[in-house]
Amino acid sequence: MARRWVLRVVSLAAGLLLWQVLTASGVRLWLRFDQLPTAVEVAERFARQLTRAEFYGDLGSSLARIGLGFLLAAVVGTALGVVVARSRVLGDLVQPLLEVVRPIPAIALVPIAILLFPTDEQGIVFITFVAAFFPILVSTRHAVRALPTTWEDALRTMGGSRRQVLVRVVLPGALPGVFGGLSVGMGVAWICVISAEMISGRYGVGYRTWQAYTVVDYPGVVVGMVTIGLLGRVTAGVVELLGRRATRWLPGEARS
């Protein structure tokens, strides 16, 4: 166990070092590192940010927005994914609409969200919801479709109703796939946080990052990226942990 953590830390440290070396020496071999901020510059800025109250306010509001949007997406996405996979009629009715909306960029939703929702916060949550929703939906649909039929058959011969089949077989059986979707969905929600917070005009790590870019403050941009990266890591970690607990029966999970 200790060895694994050593490896993980070594990996991150090596990444940082590589970044520092490439940027500080201004390497230009096809890829050009000469204009990027160095790791040390970013670290200094990051340390400064950590002393500011504003920074924690940003964290809080972004986490709340992503959290709410993600929760909604998890519930609605899983439910709809199951429905679309299990009912041919509902699938045919719902899926064409969803499929056309699915690839619409979060950032293109900004004006729509502004016009559609009474408040900015609702618009922001809406965009993170949309972002997380589709990966969850698609993964759930795939997972439900890939379920072996025996388990369902077993439940039905025990007199299980349609609803019981859903609750006792389809949901737990699809859970590994659903958690894959939740993990991806969380990532995509963070990917869209900047677009979503463009509406805000006030707080949030996404908003702050974009603001840094509008004054071409690259260390500020990278600090924002790293913050979002870490927040994303932590939230996705929580999802993966829950997922691993929920799917402990898988042979692969016992292994790792």
């Binding site: 502004i114 840094a212 509008t214 004054v215």
Partner: protein, 426 residues
Amino acid sequence: GGAASDEVAVVVGYQSKTINTVTAGTLLRELGYFERRLDALGQRTGTRYRVTWQDYDTGAPITAQMVAGRVDIGSMGDFPLLINGSRTQDMGDEGTRMVSVTGYNARGALNMVVVRPDSTAKALSDLRGQKVSTSVGSAGHGTLVRALDGTEVVVENQQPSVGASALQGGGVAALSQFVAWPGQLVFAGQAKLLYDGAALDHPTLHGVVVRKPFADARPEVLAEFLRAQLDATRYLHANPLAAAESVAAATGLPPEVVYLYNGPNGIATFDLSLKSVLREALRDDVPLLRSIGDIAELDVDRFIDDGPLKAVYEGTEDLANPARITGEDPVCGVPVADPAAAGEVWFAGESATRPAATPDCLLKQVKQAGKQVRAAYVPDAATGTRWFAEHAHWVRDGDRFLPFATEAEAAKRGAVLTYAQALAGA
């Protein structure tokens, strides 16, 4: 939105980085004048007011929020203003009105074209066939189109920050942008000035728009806003350096750059008046704007509503910058008066700038002091555009040194010297 019933919510949208709007945005917010005036108004009327400030990177989201009825008062540049008016025109009395100017430059120097420091281009015509980044539908784009005058370039439509990265990364040869961008990039040593918008002699401005339904429902709030904007403008005129430092702290821009634009005799002239030259300039911009996008014809005179401003402020047609460099030149020992010649030096570690009567006086002052200079500002000898002495191009004219913002302009007058050479010769 979302106010309690006994509370009036006012949402102000602004662009902190577009420092030509600070008197209706960043500075006004920092000073708190608007809130104070609303508190006083509340004392009289028994109403509570709550102001929310929202900072956006362009005018588009402010317009979108105004269309959605969620931003009441907004400030933006001339082209975004026109887009705002055009998009809300169909809404009739539900639409928006322009009620005041924040700042302007009568010759158009707020917009400039910059190139990388190592660029060999001397004039816009040298950019023929190359990529130039600008934000289509912005003031910087308008200037570029007018200034190119037929020179064929490849226009890359990018957000200002994306364009700045592209310039740095070598993706584009030049960048045509509005306030703060050219000064900021030049100050950071990431660009040099190729073309000064002042050469066009076409005014450019930023202004304030209000949602008509809000103006109708809360005329008293709008009046207090304009009064507060006036207060902030006066504060800016009286305390230019403090104002610049306050804005710099709020935005992350270097104070030297803010002071370049917003300081005395700066590139931006702050005045609320809806002057006829500015109205004329807006009218001239409409056809250009229509040519670049699917934008409806705008009735500028209907869009501009000077009623609310008239009620609180007389206004003026005078184009002179009310903020002047004054005092006595400490080296030449003469009073500083002529805005076409006056400059300023900001020494490191000092909390005030020192005036200079002429560029020569400024050079001498720098030389004698032997101190670290944070920034020195001189007016372009041809256009009057205030510029960094260090980044100006100098020409010896008899016993005088003349500074020019662009190398091309300097070259017309004689052999071009660098700042260091001019300093050595002074």
